[in-house]
């Protein structure tokens, strides 16, 4: 019997071209034993939701440095719901002003990580979200 692996989609919605952070996180999650599906730059919310469905992921990680998180995040969340994937946990990394944190949480985002966050925190939070 094989154990259940945590499957994570790491995606970069929007138009900013900085994927260093997303790659660092992808690598760290790999080293924590997760299966990370990396989709690359400039994904639309539709592309992300579609990939999340086909890959049957447990977690979607969005990397957003453009400032468009308040537009992109709800769109991704809505599409996940529409596809029957309300169980998928959404995490966000990037440049997110403090005043947006509360509203993102209210949308159902599980965790938000700004500059300087440690990958250990992200891993721990994903693992506990999966356990809970």
């Amino acid at each position: 019997m094989t154990e259940k692996k945590i499957r994570v989609l790491v995606a970069k919605p929007g138009l900013d071209g900085h994927d260093r952070g997303a790659k660092v996180v992808a690598r760290a999650l790999r080293d924590a034993g997760m299966e990370v599906i990396y989709t690359g730059l400039r994904q639309t919310p539709e592309m992300i939701a579609e990939a999340a469905l086909q890959e049957d992921v447990d977690v979607v990680g969005l990397s957003i440095l453009s400032g468009a998180h308040m537009a992109l995040t709800p769109r991704v969340m809505d599409l996940l719901h529409a596809n029957g994937q309300s169980n998928v946990k959404v995490f966000i990394g990037g440049i997110i002003p403090d005043e947006d944190l509360q509203r993102l949480k209210e949308m159902g985002v599980t965790g938000v990580y700004g500059p300087g966050s440690s990958t250990e925190d992200i891993i721990r939070d994903i693992q506990s979200a999966m356990a809970g």
Partner: protein, 334 residues
């Protein structure tokens, strides 16, 4: 409605979830496979293998685009990438090259980690392919992990195997070595706009001249299994792998490649090779299951302490591994 019924009705979320269950080898997954099996056998299974960086994913992207636009077929893609041997984690990055396909509801891409399997596929890949087949996809493309020389499992799974090369990767000694080139039904030289393409083609061409007509013979559990067609000298029965040059970033050479693939499928049907490959594939699958079942029964049968004690004996050089196995199996599994 059972999960298999939902899948047969075209429910994509049910399909995705079943794939996970089958990957994890769950009981529910096995049940569904039993229900779905009668619906399989309709798809053309195309394998794509080759060294890392030869452009397999981009090629698969172009193939699928072509099949969608020109032939209006439903396409499933299974893309396998390696798992870390240390942590068991994986980064599955093949989708990065397949973004042209997103948004098309008739293309379904699934990434798989190899999970410790060494033949270029994951253990569950054959079952995942079966599910896509049952779900009514016309073509299932399986992309292996970046393969070196002996990751040849794909040839036992696919009807048509593409081996992808790129200029500058090896000389003609590489080309005459046993292994991956032998399994090619079609040889693809991708990145054919790069220097060195003539040399790569020459090396492959000379390899083919030496090799044909060849039988496809697999060593399997010590016995040789041949998938050659019955060929009493009829030269038309022998398939000589064509060499196709492509530039998959631009889509060059793709229509010609798909024509070769279609010709190969046609050849298999006419020569009886299709049935032989089906037989080989299912036989390999049955044997793998027997393996697994026997192993499980052995584990249930032999207490872990006894096994550990025996291992210790071998470690101390008191007995040989052969002797240990003889003692462990003594009187069991009958």
């Amino acid at each position: 409605m059972t999960i298999s019924q939902s899948i047969l009705k075209g429910d994509r979320l049910a399909l995705a979830r079943l794939l996970t269950k089958v990957e994890n080898d769950s009981t529910e997954g096995r049940e569904a496979l039993i229900e779905l099996f009668p619906h399989t056998g309709g798809a053309h299974l195309i394998g794509v293998t080759g060294a890392p960086g030869t452009g397999k994913s981009s090629l698969v992207n172009q193939l699928a685009l072509h099949y969608r636009k020109d032939e209006n077929k439903r396409i499933a893609i299974v893309a396998v990438d390696p798992s870390s041997p240390f942590t068991g984690g994986a980064v599955l990055g093949d989708r990065v090259r397949m973004r042209d396909l997103s948004g098309d509801p008739n293309v379904f891409i699934r990434s798989m980690a190899s999970r410790g399997s060494l033949g270029g596929l994951a253990q569950a890949t054959a079952n995942v392919v079966q599910i896509f087949d049952a779900a009514g996809f016309d073509i299932v493309i399986v992309e292996t992990v970046g393969a070196g020389q002996s990751e040849v499992d794909i040839a036992r799974l696919a009807h048509t195997t593409l081996v992808v090369e790129a200029p500058g990767l090896g000389d003609d000694i590489q080309a005459i070595k046993a292994g991956i080139l032998e399994i090619a039904d079609i040889l693809v030289i991708n990145k054919a706009d790069r220097p060195g393409v003539e040399n790569a083609e020459k090396a492959l061409r000379s390899m083919l001249d030496l090799a044909h007509p060849a039988e496809r013979v697999f060593r399997h559990h010590g016995t040789y299994m041949s998938t050659s067609m019955p060929k009493p000298g009829a030269s038309s029965n022998v398939w000589i792998p064509p060499i196709q040059k492509t530039v998959s970033t631009e889509g060059r050479g793709i229509p010609e490649l798909t024509q070769s693939i279609a010709r190969h499928a046609e050849h298999l049907r006419l020569s009886g090779g299709w049935a032989i490959r089906e037989r080989t594939r299912l036989e390999v699958e049955i044997e793998a299951l027997i393996h697994e079942m026997l192993m499980n029964r052995f584990r249930e049968d032999v207490p872990a302490q006894r096994y550990e004690a025996m291992l210790e004996q071998v470690l101390q050089r008191n007995i040989s591994p052969w002797e240990a196995v003889r003692q462990l199996l003594n009187g069991r599994l009958q």
